[in-house]
């Protein structure tokens, strides 16, 4: 039983890191732009599909992991500069409808280009196979993924806390109007924020492809989890999103041991409990 619990903690961590990456991107956009990005899921899917294509074209898995999130950033820039920017002063309903429409359109584009049937993206030979941890045989790729996602989260944390741009983004989350008053071009801040959110979604999508595979609906599958991360974390809380992502992954692992039918429900139970007992989220202030 102890081994089973330890292995589920490891699984939960791997899952949680992915949720954290994709959830942090969403919470950044929501915090700074005050817009619920319903296209976040398809940006995740786009990251995976672009990684698949680049890996096939170039034969390099690592190059695909590097380039695909950057291409998703370009799509993010396009969405923000040509669409979302025009709706900042509109009612939330319009923003929501616009982004949801974008999500559906991008998903259909994925089907048109890549087809309705999914694909597999294999990790490179050096990351394939499993390692014997003594108590558990665990896939190498998943171990690397946990370490890499942790590295990316630390980098993101340092960027947000140690750089000027990071400070501006955090200030934007706290008080957008004050950032404007300080003479900072908020359009550029918004553009970069959306781009950073898109990068994290694209990166999570690319990293998840060898584990989950690729399907056109993968973006819509991950979207509810992203929003749960944001709600549990507290609106706009970056550390909260990281911890909430990991907590959700761990709770899914725990549910599998004692109540496997509830592995999906447990996510929403967590959200419900948070809303009832701590409406501002675990780390939120508003």
């Amino acid at each position: 039983m102890t081994f089973l619990i330890i292995s589920q903690i490891l699984n939960g961590l791997g899952l949680g890191m992915l949720y954290a990456l994709v959830g942090v991107g969403l919470t950044l956009i929501l915090g700074v732009l005050n817009i619920p990005n319903f296209a976040h899921g398809v940006l995740y899917a786009l990251g995976a599909y672009l990684a698949f294509t680049i890996a096939n074209l170039t034969g390099s898995f690592y190059f695909a992991m590097f380039l695909s999130p950057l291409l998703v950033v370009l799509v993010g820039f396009l969405l923000e500069s040509q669409g979302v920017r025009r709706l900042y002063h509109a009612h939330h309903d319009y923003q929501l409808l616009f982004l949801f429409a974008c999500a559906l359109i991008i998903q259909e584009i994925i089907i048109i280009i890549w087809g309705p049937i999914g694909f597999s993206l294999l990790p490179p030979p050096s990351l394939s196979g499993a390692v014997d941890l003594g108590f558990l045989i665990y896939p190498k790729y998943r171990l690397v993924l946990i370490c890499f996602a942790l590295f990316m989260i630390v980098c993101l944390y340092l960027f947000l806390t140690k750089t000027n741009l990071g400070a501006i983004l955090r200030a934007g989350i706290e008080n957008r109007d004050m950032v404007k008053v300080l003479g900072i071009n908020v359009n550029v801040v918004f553009l970069y924020t959306f781009g950073l959110g898109a990068y994290l979604a694209g990166l999570a999508g690319a990293l998840s492809a060898p584990i989950m595979g690729l399907t056109p609906s993968m973006g819509l599958d991950i979207l509810p989890i992203c929003f749960v991360v944001v709600v549990v974390a507290g609106l706009g809380s970056i550390p909260g999103a990281i911890i909430a992502g990991i907590l959700i992954g761990l709770s899914q692992g725990a549910a599998t041991i004692w109540f496997p039918e509830a592995t999906n429900v447990v996510i929403y139970v967590m959200m419900g409990l948070t809303i009832i007992f701590r409406p501002q989220g675990l780390f939120g202030v508003r």
Partner: protein
Amino acid sequence: MKKSFFSSLKLKIASVVFGSLFSISSSVSFADTVNILGLFPFSGPYADSGKLTDQGARIALEEVNYTINGKKIKYITRDSETKAGPAARRAQEAIDTEGVKFIVGPWSSGVALAVTEVAKKNKVMYYFSGGTEDISGKKCHKYAFMWAANAWTAMDANLKIFKKANPNAKKIYLFVVDYAFGWTLQKYVESLAPKYGLEVVGVDRHPLGHREYSTFITKAMSTNPDAVYMINFGLDAISAVRQLNNFGFTPKKPVVMSWSSGFEELIQLDPAARENLIVGSNYYYTIDNPDNKKFVEAYKKKFKGVPPGYAGAAGYGLMKMTLLGMQKSGSTEPQKVITALEEHKGKNFVGDFEIRGRNHQTVRPFFVLQTKKKSEMKNKYDMAEVVDISSTEQPKNINMCKDIGSF
């Protein structure tokens, strides 16, 4: 001024649109056409199958040039979303507004159980691809037919071939999708396993649409089973197989995909992840008969040389059987078509095909495949070979359809 111009323009457009709609609806009567609804999942967890099923149905319609018994066929589609509520609502809406008399679809058992009630209430013929046994079991009625092999037939065939290929195997672990059809199959596997000297050492039910199986896999591996026997479908099954391979379970030990769409699922897996799978399916494109060759050719023409899987074949098969009933009865009235299909006995593209009048269950071949290693594949679509074909009928005493009722 500008506003009033646009207001009047809007009014004009509206009057033209509504005027033309009215003229169309008044000029076309439901009696002039046979209206068939294809209710398939174009979104939701089985969205990958919806379009393929629809295309299969269209090939059957093209074969008769959208005409039957001197009437034009009007084929309409609705998205089942793999959700019982929306699917039943849309089926009712299509019956009310489009005059639909025949429904084919909708892929998922949970959804089918809702749609079959709509068909019964509205006296509309309904052909379901497969496979909750309730359609031809405890929820059976005169208007509903089941195209797929019975779940019992399928599970018996899978276990028989698994044991034949792995004579030393003793323990199996089940992954079961947590809804009506999954429960049915689990029940049969648990009752049939001892017959083949197998013990079910663990069962995990997972939610429909689940994509992350690491937690289930580590739990299963802790019991050291000789195989993981999967009772799940589509993307759920693909994700689980892929991750079982990541964890090094396959190819060392076999995985049984007990109710697979065959081609459509296997093609999504890399050859390395496909190794050592035993795959049960209602269809595989290499079935050797002239009707199947004709269908495969027509399908490949539509899909750039890609052969059909279960989804495409089911769409084709459902529509073919509906049309066959119309041809046999010389009618497009559901009750006459149904009567013509009861006790039907013949051959079609899957082989010998019989319909039991007492429960509307089809007795037909179920195919068990063994996947090939990459080195054994002649081309990228040569993924498996059919190692067994079983038509063993479900014992009559365990079928839950005790009285199919009347019209």
